[in-house]
Symmetry: C2
Subunit: 371 residues, 2 copies
Amino acid sequence: MHKIKVNLKERGYDILIQKGLLSGCPDLKSAVSGRKCLVITDSNVGKIYGPGVLSMLKKAGADASMTVFKAGESSKNIDTYAKLLRECCRAGLDRSSVIIALGGGVPGDLAGFVAASYMRGISFIQIPTTLLAMVDSSVGGKTGIDLPEGKNLVGAFWQPSLVLIDPGTLRTLPKREIRCGLAEVVKYGVIMDEKFFSFLEKNLNRINNLDQKTFETIIARCCELKAKVVCADERETTGLRAILNYGHTFGHAVETVTEYGKYAHGEAVSIGMCMAANLAIECNKFSPGNKFSHELANRQKALLQAIGLPTSLGKGINPVKIYKAMFKDKKAQQGKLRIVLPVRIGKVSIVKDAAPEDVKRAIELVNGRVS
Amino acid sequence: MHKIKVNLKERGYDILIQKGLLSGCPDLKSAVSGRKCLVITDSNVGKIYGPGVLSMLKKAGADASMTVFKAGESSKNIDTYAKLLRECCRAGLDRSSVIIALGGGVPGDLAGFVAASYMRGISFIQIPTTLLAMVDSSVGGKTGIDLPEGKNLVGAFWQPSLVLIDPGTLRTLPKREIRCGLAEVVKYGVIMDEKFFSFLEKNLNRINNLDQKTFETIIARCCELKAKVVCADERETTGLRAILNYGHTFGHAVETVTEYGKYAHGEAVSIGMCMAANLAIECNKFSPGNKFSHELANRQKALLQAIGLPTSLGKGINPVKIYKAMFKDKKAQQGKLRIVLPVRIGKVSIVKDAAPEDVKRAIELVNGRVS
């Protein structure tokens, strides 16, 4: 079993990664025994893993029940949030109770925010069942819901007390969702670990064949890397955590302009990373310290493509619209963009003063329309 | 000017207390200059103090606007919360913006929770305009909203960046609300400061005549005492902060049974403190360490009555119902009550194993029906 410690002092916790973990986890007993537990999950995941998780909790000595909401990002709103809070009351949860977030990013974010705010905050355990949630959203304590005005505009930083990852659940995941998770996996390589990036390049066959051992290694390394960043900047205040947004400022804008219909999040991030690489090259022209080259941009692009991720924009998408949408990002402060750019594979820096024409050009360049 | 420092390290802040502070406060500039500010207030307070606060903010260099919700506890719900979050979007607030909570406990709790959760938490400034909010709810970082199932069931611990208190605003407050605030003031004396309790006894005339200097002193001392407790137990985890609940476990039950109609919060707390004093005497019979006597209970009762607060239950209120309602309190854990009892004036202890018959008797005794 891989065990990763997230060292956040009194808010510290373990991430446990092992195939078959959901059939029984000895570490669960101390976290839930004698307590009321409410499993919050969506209609897809609840059907497949709900009964097993409930029986595992009961075996660990918990007084466990489950509540299910309709699967999909459209459920991640204030109405579902209010409904789940009332379910907590109905289940009789008190301050010593535990919420279990079971599923992908949507149940994780929603249930996490419920846990962060019910009675001003109770414990919660993350059991991510998608690759994206395993390597990204379940680690780091970001919870939240969407408003009609934008995604994740409401929420809290609230750390789980335990994260249980069973890579066996990836077998039931659609291939497209695996690919989306892999976009974030590649991201970790580019932003902080060239060796890991090379590992991905060398293990493409195993990755594309969903080899369990390889995925255990990948998930564990991504969690380690994310934990390192989160510990250095828990609440996104020092700027360090911002490196995790590599590809995301562009990616969110791509999602906004295409109205969250054409691209899944990971696909938009994949395109966003290519845009960021282009911008790094554009900026490079004027700053000799930045060594990012066409060669490195192509290496990133090749890996993303080998995984099956998009690296250019579909036809009919207006680059200027994407540029404008970038300013609506939650991380834009006082009208200024902060963009994460690669310096080399394994290292990024944050640029606050990219020229608008360079940014627009970087967006256009993903389609190879400009030289 | 009284300036009280709340020493919560990176979450530390100042409480400034001075008559006339809302006409202009030099300390405001560094907190708001160049930032977007949204004043959140209710329809009563907005009318009286809204324009003044807005112009003060603008003078301090802020880009300030205001949003107003219908006055009353019934507004402290998820619908108003959702509406206010969308107002934040409309006002274009980003992570560097500031929310201003202007008014009593309801605007403070609501706006505080909006600030705690909008973009996963932005700065906020408390400007309490009721005595209760000045001495209690605006200090300590408790924010929240009600559910149909109970009060304050949802929220966050979120510290303000500054608290501005102008005792001049008490002039526009109904007398009953002043009395309610004074119930909490008396509470501070009983739980931690006998000297302050004596000060109140000696200054009854000045208190009942709303003497501004006396109120400045009272508010400053209460804030100091509360800050001390909050710093020792910010998130109500070590049990220390629980002493602030003196009179509240009984009081909340009185409010629940009378359906929040008959008694205002402070009035219910006043009755609750008398019940707690009775229970201290009941328990005293069996534990020689507890010195609380009829004499001390009467001293507390006399002060509450001199202020004009109720110290007994109205007719037709069933003590057993009150007893049962106590178990619905948010602080009840795994079906067990934790009740704060006076040891002497100026000191309390927490009792976890009070016998049900003693608790029931303590409730009945407020009406003098049992000897």
